[in-house]
Symmetry: C2
Subunit: 234 residues, 2 copies
């Protein structure tokens, strides 16, 4: 069982104009003049691995642009079980539903050390009133989230445990000289795939024995893409 940490740092107010990853975030299309309409502070937030960004059902007042790291969106069932419904990375936005004045639909937790910009909803609304340039990036985030949600269901929640695990690795692949993948806890793998922790562990162990995966160091794997693709068809 994970314990939830509460390590949140507030690194100060952002300067969005000079943002190093602006081409990836919501404000990509804004012009110099548009920034004048931001009258509430946008904060850079730092979350330690395992810490809570916001809780499901929690009162919402802001959206969070992910600057680095990985965030899991968790949803709880009445019986206490839970599923991870999405992973968010650089350029994704967490808590979009806040813009509709709704409570957060998921619990958002940092899977690694995570940097975000906390953007008050009021800022988004105001910008939307003053300029049309925020709209496309915003719609694009909705589209992307929905696409991922459907993909998540069909690829990670369908078929045998072996196939699902293989698809998860393919999903997480970092391309490079050798395709690698850094994984998280077996419990989280289970919550992503709808399997138990033990089954996740067993299947991953089996893939290691079959050389489809090689564990370089703890939770860092070299992946044999072709073998994984075969297995993903089961």
């Amino acid at each position: 069982m994970e314990r939830q940490k509460i390590e949140v740092a507030w690194s100060g107010q952002s300067n969005c104009r000079k943002c190093g990853i602006r081409e990836l975030v919501l404000f990509v299309d804004l012009k110099e003049e548009d920034f004048l309409h931001i009258h509430m502070p946008i904060h850079d937030m730092h979350y330690e691995k395992g810490s809570l960004i916001y809780p499901q059902g929690g009162e919402s007042g802001a959206v969070f642009t992910i600057r680095s790291g990985v965030v899991k969106l968790v949803q709880y069932l009445p019986n206490g079980r839970h599923r991870i419904v999405r992973l968010l990375r650089q350029g994704d936005v967490a808590g979009l539903e806040a813009l509709f004045g709704q409570a957060y639909e998921h619990t958002a937790i940092a899977l690694q050390s995570v940097l975000t910009c906390r953007i008050p909803c009021e800022v988004v609304h105001r910008l939307n009133r003053e300029t049309p340039r925020l709209l496309n990036p915003l719609m694009e985030r909705w589209r992307r989230s929905l696409h991922r949600a459907d993909e998540w269901l069909t690829t990670l929640s369908t078929g045998s445990a072996r196939a699902r695990v293989a698809r998860l690795f393919l999903h997480l692949l970092d391309e490079g000289p050798h395709p690698t993948c850094h994984l998280f806890s077996r419990e989280d793998v289970g919550a992503i795939l709808g399997l138990t922790t033990e089954t996740s562990s067993r299947v991953i162990a089996e893939l290691k024995r079959g050389k489809a995966l090689t564990e370089l160091k703890t939770n860092l794997f070299r992946c044999d893409r072709e073998r994984l693709e075969e297995i993903s068809l089961d």
Copy 2:
């Protein structure tokens, strides 16, 4: 195996101003003057049960507002298996991704006799340029779809077969004097829940024996809400 029918009728051009369900559809907020900007025909379409509305990967040129009936959105895996990722009903919009110039992400099929309005993307784009009043309904459709997608995963794709089937019935409940539910084929139930046709059939049969369900006539059930809620917690 289902065969796909091709019964599509075209009932003529819509008069959106006089639409009987306008409070439910995309054009809810439009004013008289806005309709002048519609320079392409919006057609009323009629699809027989089982017929194809659009295919996954198909070239997209329009979105479809559902006026009545139920539509399933199906996604296929490389290995030939498939899952139903969403059901759409009155007021929902199918094929929103078309607005981004993308191929359709799902295959949309009528589960019952279905009426839609086929709205060319160009009409939506033009209206969006001319008036801000289409935007909220549009965003609301994105939000709703995403909400449903997440709900689908956590409630219909998690836990035992019994619990999933129970949750599906709760999901489909028509409130009324007695809560009833009209179901579709066991094959579709399987594709929604990630189970085989046989397992779906067996579980439904078991719920009937346990009096949680009573089959009034073929595929029309009276539901014991409380029993189903208990079972849904498994």
